[in-house]
Amino acid sequence: MSMNMRDEFLRLDGLTKTFGASTVVKDVNLSIARGEFVSFLGPSGCGKTTVLRMIAGFETPSAGHIHVDGRDVTHLRPNQRKIGMVFQAYALFPNMTVAGNIGFGLKIAGMGKDEAAARVSEMLKLIGLTGFEKRYPYQLSGGQQQRVALARALAARPSMLLLDEPLSALDAKIRVSLREQIREIQKELGITTIFVTHDQEEALSISDRIMVMNAGRADQVGTPFEVYNRPQTRFVAQFVGTLNVLKGKVADPSRRAVQVNGTLINIAHDLGARKAGDPISLAVRPESVSLGSHEGRESRLHGQIDEVSFLGSVIRVRVGVGGDNTLSLDTFNNPAVPPPVAGSPAEISFSGKDLLVLQD
């Protein structure tokens, strides 16, 4: 999605939240375009849910401002913000039918009966639950309940949709199908959406952009492609995807040369202010490492296979290359070729261009 024509919808300025002595959100700045799908990704306790709850209005920021569509909403109550929200544990009203739940916001807004009924059936069609009007929440499966919760959040045509780990209570299969459905509906309606999750695969697969959070801070904001391929901090590199970290020393900063286990490697990345002899952490994804020699992967290291894990379509091999350095790499499972054997010597190859320099 193009960012140069951006039409800013939500802006967070220096958002900070403290509970007693602990600061759970520190100086978060973010701009979200109209119609954009942004995920907040991070481990539990990183502050992502608190940021979402501040946007919803359940928490008041200790410092900073929230602007929606150019208007400062920092001190508005949740019921004045025109947002739709979906919670982790469904949170459907147990005393109301599916239709009652979806129509609740419409009733509060004073919409006429016929119009509300038409909107409810429109929403049921959208989530594929037409005919479920008269069911009660306890008569629905988890996935169905969460779809009703989504319809309820969208029925009053909110200006923004907030999703607080909406898939984490569901089974793996339903999780994938529902996330695709959420993304489809979001695109269809063009509604600005924030999706909180601790699951990197979820975030990578459905977001326009991802904000990766760690210990209350936004470590990186970028497209899934950027966040995965060009992580800006060690935390992001390790949290998003699997990552091999190699420890080495700077050999010659001007030629971007580093030394790992005695092997000189030229990398594409700028070494900045580092001097020769400084320790350095390099990262490489498993898919960028080959067992044996490989065209275009000019750097080689020798070691021994520590462990072989059969994962189905791929075989993950862990190779110790001396020192503390261990690399994981994936090879495709080929029934005609015997799998690597643990304990046997191995050569690995990769390209210096695929190495990332981690800022500690």
Binding site: P78, N79, K82, M85, M96, Y138, A153
Partner: protein
């Protein structure tokens, strides 16, 4: 391999449980039949026969005599008033303590005290209220000497409908708090938050979600409170002796001295009580089942 460890022996041992199970439950069932069901059924049967042992409905016709009808009316009035007030005040108290953001020690103190007060019924409770609101009670005297307000001149009497109701509230309110608190704890925060994001204020939330969700529990507990005070006698007897004409006191006098001059009329009186407390309890169970269905 020791015999006890062989699989077939384990299977046999577990299978023998069926018969052992019946042996384990049998004493309980026999006890319940002999000391609960049989005497009650015998009493119910007694309501349908006359002094000569012949089948009759005359005892139920005789229930319509003014003393007995009066007793039922007063009993139902006291039970209904103490149940409704107890449920209302208990609900408010439970909401204040459970949802009002008060310190947690208050909640635990209230729950512990409720456990004590809901069991502090009977003779001692009557003594306590005589010492408080009797003619020489502390509150009566304080109101008269400090505020120059004589509650007895204003028509209050501890030995009356209003006095009995106030006294019953001392165990009815805590019972309501104890039973309704789990239901209040079952109100999930997300419901309020979801309602808020949908534009609802506090009033909307309670009107459309909070109270409707609690409603079966409230009505059910109301029925239980009614039955609880309808069958109670010790508190009333300790308070008023036999002067207040409520059904259990009338029945007590009948058992003691056959004041109705017809033991089978006493049985009919008892059957009337069972029917009323039974209906109230059935209502309680039905409504509780409905509340639990929602909470799944």
């Amino acid at each position: 391999m020791p015999a006890a460890l062989r699989p077939n022996r384990i299977g046999e041992a577990l299978a023998s449980f069926g018969s052992a199970g019946i042996l384990g439950v049998a004493p309980f069932l026999i006890f319940a039949i002999v000391f609960l069901i049989f005497p009650t059924l015998g009493l119910i049967g007694g309501a349908f026969v006359d002094k000569a042992g012949k089948l009759t409905l005359q005892n139920f016709v005789d229930l319509t005599q003014p003393t007995i009808v009066d007793a039922y009316v007063i009993s139902i009035k006291v039970s209904a008033a103490s149940a409704v007030l107890g449920a209302l005040v208990g609900l408010i108290l439970a909401l204040a303590v459970g949802r009002g953001g008060l310190p947690s020690w208050i909640r635990s103190t209230v729950m512990t005290f409720s456990g004590v007060a809901s069991n502090f019924a009977g003779i001692p409770l009557a003594f306590a209220f005589l010492a408080t609101l009797g003619r020489l009670g502390l509150v009566t005297i304080l109101l008269r000497t400090v505020f120059h307000f004589d509650i007895y001149r204003a028509g209050f009497n501890i030995l009356s409908f209003s006095g009995l109701t106030i006294t019953y509230l001392y165990f009815q309110i805590p019972l309501m708090v104890l039973i309704i608190m789990p239901a209040i704890d079952g109100l999930r925060n997300e419901w309020r938050e979801a309602a808020e994001t949908l534009g609802a204020g506090s009033w909307h939330y309670w009107r459309h979600i909070g109270l409707p969700v609690l409603w079966p529990s409230i009505l059910g507990t109301l029925a239980l409170l009614f039955a609880n005070s309808f069958g109670a006698i010790a508190t009333a007897y300790g308070l008023t002796g036999s002067s207040l004409n409520i059904v259990p006191i009338l029945l007590y006098a009948q058992i003691r001295g056959d004041v109705l001059h017809n033991p089978n009329l006493g049985a009919a009186l008892a059957l009337g009580m069972i029917v009323i407390t039974g209906l109230a309890n059935v209502l309680y169970l039905v409504l509780r089942a409905r509340a639990e269905r929602w909470m799944r």
